[in-house]
Every structure is written in C-alpha cells, then in structure tokens.
Symmetry: C2
Subunit: 238 residues, 2 copies
C-alpha cells in the first residue's frame, strides 16, 4: 500500500499532521507494507525567493488579524505541536518561498533520503532559531547534509533553478487534479483521501479501510504470457 | 500513476519485457507522471547460494528437453532480445540463486538507484561473459558500484544475510496476493495487471486504460480540516 503526502515546509499543520499520521502508522499492523512518499505543495507558489517576512507580520497582513490574535494562534499551534512531541517556536519565526526546499526534496527522493530531509526542514523551520529562508543557499546545503545528502549534489540543484522544478510543479498539478485545495493532504493507494492534520484515529481508520479494500487486479491481457514461473520459462516458438 | 514490475534477474522474459515496457512508456504522453518501481520475485527461492549450473543443463533437467532443444530455445530468445536492441549470450551462461541480487536491489531502491542496478544486473547476466553467480560477492559489489552505489554499502548488505531479506520476501508475498504466478508481472496503480513480456502495444493499451480510469478519491473524513491553503492556515481554536 502506498500513502502519498502533499505538504509544504511552511505549513504548521503539515508538521503536526505528519506526526499524527506517523503515530497511526506505527500502530498499523501492516506498516511494513506501507510505503510513504512525500509530494510538493507550495502554499505561496508565486513568492519571490528574497521575499521574507516575520510569521506574525504575514499572519496579520493575510488575515487582517491583530498581532495579539496572530500570537495567540501561534501559541495554540505550539501547544498542539507539543502534544505530538514536537518543538515549536511560537515567536521569531519567518516566512518565505519554499520552492528551493521542494526542489531539494526531489533530489532527496532520488537519493532515498526524502523523509529525512523533510523532517530536517520542518524541524529547522519550526523549532530552530536560525532561519531557513534568510541565510541563503548554504543554510539549505547544511540541512541537506544533515539529512544525509551530498553537499555538492545539493549545491548543484540550488545553483540551477530548473533542477527538479518540473517535479515540484508536477506534484502540484497532481494535487489539484486529486482535489486537494490545502495541505497536508494524504492519499492512500490513489483511492482514499484524508485532508488536514486529522487526529491519529482518523489516519488509523483510513489505513484500515484502504488496506481492506485493496482491489483485485484487472488483467489487461490474458493471452499466452511470455513469462517465467517456478516451473520454468515459456519456450519461444520462433 | 505508478507501475510496479515484479521480475527476477534470471528471467529472460523479464529482461525482454522490461525493454518492451520501456518502449511503450517512452511513447506514452503522460510518461513524466509515471513512476516505475521494481519488485522482487525469485523463480527459484529455495536455491542455495553455491548451487550454480549451466543454463542449458538447467533447462534440460527442468523440462526434460534435449540439449539441442534447449539451445534452440536460447537462440530464439537471443533473436527476440536483439529485436529489442538487447545483447543476449545464447551459450555459456549459468544459473544460480538471485536472492543476494534482490537484496541489493532493495538497497539500491533506498538510494534511488534501483533501475540502474536492475539494468546492470540484467546486462551482466544475459550479455556479459563473466558470471554473476560464480565469482562471489565482490562481483556483485562491482556491479553495484557500476550502478552508482557505494561499495561499502553493498558489502555490508552482502555480509549480513538478513539485510533486506524481509523486503525481498514481502515483495514475493505481495506478488502472490496479487495473483502473479510468473514474471515479469506489471501492476498499474494496483488496479490493472499485465502478465508476461507482452508486445509494447499491450503495455501502451494498459498505460492508456489505467490513466483514463484513475479514480476520484474517497475522502475518509470530510470534517473541518486543520490545514493550510493558498489563503492561509486554519487557526487553532484551543
């Protein structure tokens, strides 16, 4: 079974939802047969690389809420994150483009390090004092290395704005096609969807349901197969 | 869309079928949105590591055919392989356990090098003079390195018989559950199956049909999602 998770590094509910999903997965009896793939979704796809602002400022501008309301929202998120065992800095975080991070996540996927890099980026963005947006490419290289990637591989991707750009956009188109309007968005075997950072019990239910409804295959061709089996291979007749 | 391909390195139809599938995929308009995953299937799962014999001998014993018939079968396979642009040594190949190669393919999957290693192993087994069975672990390390893996990573896996052993067996159980009795066996989005080295047109038809029938998702929970979207994030209420 395969679970695809669309998310953005700048999305606090994605950070929390990943932990909730992982809790459900750890308790799922068939967890060894579940493959998790992370997909890209930028909340702010047009944002320029240098356009960085404090999270509280972004929240007041985007929602028209007061700074006190924005801070209360962050405090609440901090409590919900802590309930999942996650660190969360409620003050002093900043906000910017995540496009380059998504490109690196596709590099990491190719290298079998995707989950490690996503977790490293979430932690850096939500829990660490240093910015993931304001310190330039070498900060991202450092985080890529912490996730087990090669520094030069990461540098090459960051230096070439086209590298993995199409992969990011293909993920985003696929999210739209599947009906996702926000993240985190979980897709099980391309059949079931879970929207948002639902409680672990909802993920447990989704995993159980998707597992139970794994469908029998429809064979596209039932003619004589040129194949090998335990008793030997079909012998070519010409 | 995802295509999973169960195969064995010792299976000539898998070698040929992979090329036919790839021909169809190259012509498929949505090929950039198709992910290919290779799965393990041993034709001879109980075979001891040191149990190596010439292919012709294996064929005569397994089918009770004459050496001349076995050689004619190999000649025909060689012609079919050539038609797909593949080299195929019709004489002098040997046969043995592929378990360690499958374990290495799972290492390669973790490192994003699975397709490279499978192609390297196929070529080594079917087209190169040197044996992939008779020269010990360092021969496999050499092939792993040729596919872009780290030599020490490969050595560690080969030195530990448990490394990735469960992954190989899980793939094989999954093949049985999906109804595969032989390989190559192709599964599209866990919905459509193609058995054997079918002509490229059959793979084209399967890709087109599976693409057209990608199903809408069923949402497991439609309640208020704790999520972020283009217009901002849900604000936690507690």
């Amino acid at each position: 079974m395969r679970v695809e998770i669309w998310s953005d590094i700048a999305c606090p509910w994605c950070y929390v939802g990943k932990a909730r999903f992982e809790k459900a997965l750890a308790a799922f009896p068939h967890r060894d047969q579940v493959e998790v793939v992370h997909r890209s979704f930028e909340l702010d796809p047009g944002r320029a690389k240098g356009d960085i602002q404090p999270v509280i400022t972004m929240l007041t501008r985007k929602y028209g809420m007061s700074a006190a309301q924005a801070e209360a929202g962050e405090d609440n998120l901090g409590r919900l994150a802590a309930a999942e065992g996650l660190d969360y800095r409620t003050r002093g975080r900043d906000h910017g483009s995540t496009f380059d991070m998504h490109r690196l996540l596709h590099l990491a996927k190719d290298k079998g390090r995707q989950d490690e890099l996503l977790q490293t980026l979430y932690r850096a963005n939500f829990a660490e004092e240093r910015s993931v947006f304001a310190e330039g490419d070498e900060r991202l290289v450092e985080l890529a290395v912490a996730a087990g990637l090669d520094a030069d591989d990461a540098r090459k991707v960051l230096a070439d704005p086209d590298a993995y750009a199409d992969d990011v956009r293909a993920d985003e188109r696929e999210a739209a096609r599947l009906g996702a309007t926000g993240v985190p968005f979980f897709v099980l075997d391309r059949k079931f969807g879970v929207s948002g950072a639902q409680p672990a019990e909802v993920f447990e239910q989704a995993l159980t349901q998707a597992w139970g409804e794994r469908s029998p295959l429809r064979l596209v061709d039932r003619g004589d197969a040129e194949a090998c089996g335990p008793d030997g291979c079909a012998v070519p007749q010409r």
